[in-house]
Subunit: 253 residues, 2 copies
């Protein structure tokens, strides 16, 4: 499952296979394939690797998760299909809860995702069916319904592959939102407290490694990492990396 | 069906709907959704509109099609789902043959695409089943099999949403290849004789308009347009437009 260490071309083919399989298994919806394709194109533009800005965002995210009172990982179909093992590992490292939260909601799909994650060692998956009984203000889609013991009670939330609507509403509600999004200028990326502009198949293993490294650090040192992180500035630096890559590309053309 | 004149946001949602419907109808494959998503991201980077470089490429393509002896439009699942009416209209304007040619080949899907196009007025669709009996050298996928009366006999071919493999092989075989591809640095874009870096939902109506306008021009004037067109230079100018757009984007961020 740790597919992120292979050659980029192989990785992107392997990811596509996983998503098409996810579609067949009722984990992924067609819209998820479209969304992933968009991400893939942005991934080309950063050279299909984790750049400096993304590494800094991952470090800030790791520190924020380790100092959180009630961290939650929000999982959708694509995330479950691509990095179920890393979601489980990260959750156990930081004692986070995991909640399934889908844009195209169906009880069947929620259950399938929960079952898939449990095969990767997760004991409990929140947000399935009627358990998502609390409403977050300002979200028009059915993503507004959350589990009161999960996202409802969270102070820090990881939202990979999110829609902008919900990211904005979660930030507005006072929560710290860590987004994983390959489009640095999406509404999600712009709204989030910490934006990791990276492919989930690299960002999640990166979070696992970072949290493992930071885990024994003093709380004050961790807080220094998060308070020293400027998200707007970091996104702008990421965009500069992207443009430098595009310039080199253009020279080769 | 002429969805290209609406607001970009609405257009991209409408396109997604058409492709998801195409998937349900057996016209589009999951890989087509992934490919479209990639295109969509590149479309953001050109502002979801047809820029100067694309307009020049469309004009050169129109002139090349009008001076061709045996023009062929190659159609895959996504193209059939998105612009069936424009494919039919363009074919009738330039007396081109239309051939279905799929990466993920199945007789069922070929027939469905042919039926769909016939509903839009196309009398004959080549390349279905055993009719694709001629092999193009240098293509490893099943796209290598073509209709001897279609792509087999063509001197100019429009290949929207192509894979690089086949674009390269078709150019090597001495044919003029007109690609429609939103990624200016894909192998297809690099290999093609004329690369239209644009969304098919804008490029096809654009080709229809351009051909209508150029149709009564003298042959010598049309030949002047094609011979004056430098594809490498035009792609590079398109990339410069993309980077200028990205810079403005970054300023807003």
């Amino acid at each position: 499952m740790r597919i992120s260490r292979d050659h980029p071309r192989f990785v992107s083919l392997r990811i596509r296979e996983l998503l098409v399989k996810g579609l067949q298994d009722g984990i992924v919806v067609p819209e998820g394939l479209l969304a992933h394709g968009r991400g893939e194109a942005f991934d080309y533009l950063i050279g299909e690797r984790t750049g400096k800005a993304a590494r800094r965002a991952i470090e800030a995210a790791g520190a924020a998760l380790l100092t959180a009172n009630s961290p939650v990982l929000s999982v959708n179909g694509n995330t479950a299909a691509l990095v179920p093992g890393d979601v489980s590992k990260l959750a156990s490292l930081i004692s986070a809860r995991v909640e399934v939260n889908l844009f195209h909601r169906s009880l069947d799909r929620e259950r399938r995702i929960a079952r898939l994650l449990s095969r990767y060692g997760l004991e409990k998956v929140l947000g399935v069916g009627a358990n998502a009984s609390e409403e977050i203000q300002g979200i028009s889609s059915r993503r507004k319904m959350v589990d009161p013991t999960g996202i409802g009670a969270a102070d820090v939330i990881v939202v990979p592959l999110e829609d902008g609507d919900r990211a904005e509403a979660l930030v507005k509600s006072g929560r710290k939102v860590i987004a994983v999004d390959l489009n640095p200028l999406s509404r999600t990326s712009q709204a989030a407290s910490i934006t990791i502009v990276d492919n989930v198949v690299r960002a999640f293993p990166g979070l696992v490694r970072t949290v493992t490294r930071l885990k024994h650090m003093r709380r004050s040192s961790l807080e220094k990492i998060t308070s020293g992180f400027d998200n707007k500035k970091n996104i702008s630096m990421g965009l500069a990396e992207m443009m430098a890559y595009l310039r080199r590309w253009r020279m080769k053309a």
